[in-house]
């Protein structure tokens, strides 16, 4: 029974990662490696909390968080798409900016409680029928509405990327913008749209932490989870479905060191936190060895597209 609680907690811990990972998958699919995930999550977390605290309305809080994340992403987008700045450097800068932004605007809110109206709105709700399935129900279907929305997003994003014309075009831009441009796809528009979407999702991931995961606003609520999300994208091989499993696995590892404190173990529990990164490294190596193109990163990832070079 205790293990079931652990798994349910892992799903909750993994949800913030899932939002950010889905966002970064979309961004990388369109060819943009955005290392600003940490920054965008921080911006979403702080803006979401401030909006929630001020208005006491969960919809307003979530909406503002998504806007904040998207705004951060658009700084990155403008610099890398229109001004052709280096993606790695711009992304890192966005992370520095977002961390500073959250620390500055969140300073006066440290120690404040999430308003009652929001806590009740996001409290776990047991779903009818599904929630009664033994084990599975307790793990997956006795969660916050914020968690349920992430299930929906996984399916929606899968359909968007693989079953719609827009998704096909998006992936084409990420694989070969030259060919995409030649066949009349507005490359820059696709890039801007998907990068903004990535930012909004990262913002939502950050706000999950500040509105649902914690009850009192701490000094640094995201604290490096954005980098785990970057790792997860590779671990999930750019696939939304695998991102869901990966997020819960990484979520489990995130809380594992806390849970394992009650047992005496032959190894240091601090080494457990390295597991997500080690797992990612192995995935990176194996995918590069296998050479199958649908499980690798988009061909144009990290490279800017300069139309006149064509």
């Amino acid at each position: 029974m205790e293990f079931i609680f652990f798994l349910a907690a892992a799903v909750k811990a993994g949800t913030c990662l899932l939002y950010a990972t889905l966002g970064e998958i979309i961004s990388e699919k369109v060819g943009h490696l955005n290392l600003g995930v940490e920054g965008m999550m921080q911006m979403g977390a702080v803006v979401g909390f401030i909006a929630g605290f001020t208005f006491g309305n969960p919809y307003a809080a979530v909406f503002c968080a998504a806007i904040a994340g998207a705004a951060g992403a658009l700084i990155y987008g403008f610099l890398t798409i229109s001004l052709k700045a280096n993606q790695v450097v711009t992304g890192l800068t966005l992370s520095i900016f977002g961390v500073g932004f959250a620390a500055f605007f969140g300073k006066n809110f440290v120690g404040k409680k999430v308003p009652e109206a929001i806590t009740t709105f996001f409290a776990p709700i047991k779903l009818p029928v599904l929630g009664d399935i033994p084990y599975v129900g307790q793990i997956f279907f006795n969660q916050s509405i914020y968690v349920y929305f992430s299930y929906f997003l996984v399916i929606a994003i899968y359909i968007y990327l693989y079953k719609t014309k827009w998704g096909l075009n998006t992936r084409m831009v990420g694989e070969n913008p030259v060919a995409a441009d030649a066949s009349g796809i507005p490359v820059d528009k696709y890039k801007y749209f998907n990068i903004a979407l990535c930012g909004a999702l990262c913002g939502l991931g950050g706000a999950f932490l500040s509105l649902v995961y914690i009850s009192i606003y701490p000094v640094n609520v995201v604290s490096g989870r954005g980098w785990i999300a970057v790792a997860l994208v590779i671990f999930a091989m750019w696939n939304p479905g695998k991102a869901l499993l990966g997020a819960y696995f990484f979520g489990a590892l995130d809380i594992a060191s806390f849970w394992l404190q009650q047992y005496t173990l032959p190894v240091s529990i601090y080494l457990f936190t390295a597991l997500p990164y080690l797992a990612t490294v192995f995935v990176l190596i194996f995918t590069s060895m296998r050479k199958s193109s649908n499980k690798k990163e988009p061909a144009w990832l990290g490279k800017n597209y300069f139309k006149e070079d064509r």
Binding site: V89, I96, G100, V230, Y270, Y277, L284, I285
Partner: protein, 354 residues
């Protein structure tokens, strides 16, 4: 209709004018945040300058911040020159610091000169190995090094966390999770706030200038960065070049771990890098991967860092404001690159040229 075309290589004077205007524009935007924080922007900017040059002590602090950034940037630069995106400087830095501490733990009684020499060698080796792992997989299988080196940062960080909280925890620290300070015979000699790492940095700058611009291997790295096919065609051993560049790049970042442990912090800790490994990537990139510009830009960033820590105490401004100002300046400089590299032409002029 307007088109964007690549420009010829911009002149140094144009570069300086564009960059300075970018910084000024950034400071104008940053002023809004400073006003929100409840301070006078002009006073604050003057405060930053005073915090760096106001006294010999503050100037020494600026140089102390410049040295690690400079060496890290040079390290990162070598890999970048080859289009090998080493964003793992943080991890190599940490591993260098681990190696340094290991030397002291294994051989605590060495005399100072021998101790320092051994620590330099070991920290170089630790940093180098930490980058040669991804370099090997890059050369062998084409494994993405950007993501690999990023992951290795966090693996190194967890290792240091485990050392600090478990394996190397100082029993004399009353349960505080910290690693014992280094003994006297393992600290870099210093005078008036300036320590020996400055001299090391000067030697490294000169050596790197020679390595990048005059040596055969430096030339091979540059060719490989331009085009792998060209490199193969003129008979460069690609795998060997990648490995050597990774050795130098990771090794330099590793040495920074030694400099900071023995010269600044006095002990290994998870906080030792202060994010400098990431800042170094930005410095190397903005310097166009050229040694003299790396020196200039490292100094400029050190001024920002030292100024930031000064205004925190002098103006009661939170450090996060300085972080944001730094990021805003970077955004503007990154954007201004566009002005240097591209220009707009209308259809009409384009057809005239044609």
């Amino acid at each position: 209709m307007l088109h964007i075309v690549k420009k010829d290589v911009p002149k140094t004077r144009e570069k300086i004018v564009v960059r300075l205007s970018a910084v000024l524009a950034a400071l104008a935007v940053a002023s809004i945040i400073v006003l929100v924080a409840g301070a006078n922007p002009i006073e604050l900017y003057i405060g930053i300058v005073q915090g760096c040059f106001g006294s010999l002590y503050r100037f020494a602090a600026t140089i102390e911040k410049m040295v690690p950034l400079l060496v890290l940037s040079l390290g990162v630069m070598v890999a970048f020159k080859m289009r090998f995106w080493n964003i793992g400087a943080e991890g190599q830095f940490l591993m260098g610091a681990v190696g340094t501490t290991l030397v002291v733990r294994l051989l605590p009684d060495l005399p100072l000169p021998l101790m320092l020499l051994l620590m330099i060698v070991v920290s170089f080796a630790f940093g180098a190995v930490w980058l040669m792992i991804p370099a090997f997989f890059k050369a062998r299988f084409g494994t993405n090094e950007t993501l690999f080196t990023l992951m290795l940062n966090y693996i190194a960080l967890t290792l240091v966390t485990a050392l600090q909280y478990d394996f190397w925890k100082d029993p004399a620290a009353n349960g505080m999770p910290k690693i014992a300070n280094l003994p006297e015979n393992a600290l870099l000699p210093s005078a008036g706030g300036f320590n020996l790492s400055i001299l090391m940095a000067v030697i490294i700058v000169l050596a790197m200038y020679y390595f990048m611009n005059r040596s055969k291997i430096g030339f091979e790295i540059a060719v490989l960065g331009e085009s792998e096919n060209t490199a193969r065609y003129i008979g460069i051993n690609v795998t060997k070049t990648i490995i050597i560049a990774a050795l130098v790049s990771g090794g330099l970042c590793g040495i920074v771990g030694m400099m900071q442990t023995t010269g600044v912090s006095g002990a290994l800790s998870t906080e030792i890098t202060g994010g400098l490994g990431f800042t170094a990537i930005i410095v190397a990139w903005l310097s166009g991967l050229k040694v003299p510009f790396v020196v200039v830009n490292s100094f400029a960033f050190a001024v920002l860092l030292q100024g930031a820590s000064y205004i925190q105490t002098a103006f009661q401004i939170p450090g996060s404001v300085a972080e944001m100002i730094q990021a805003i300046i970077l955004f503007f400089i990154l954007g201004s690159e566009f002005v240097l590299q591209y220009r707009f032409v209308s259809d009409k002029t384009k057809s005239e040229v044609a």
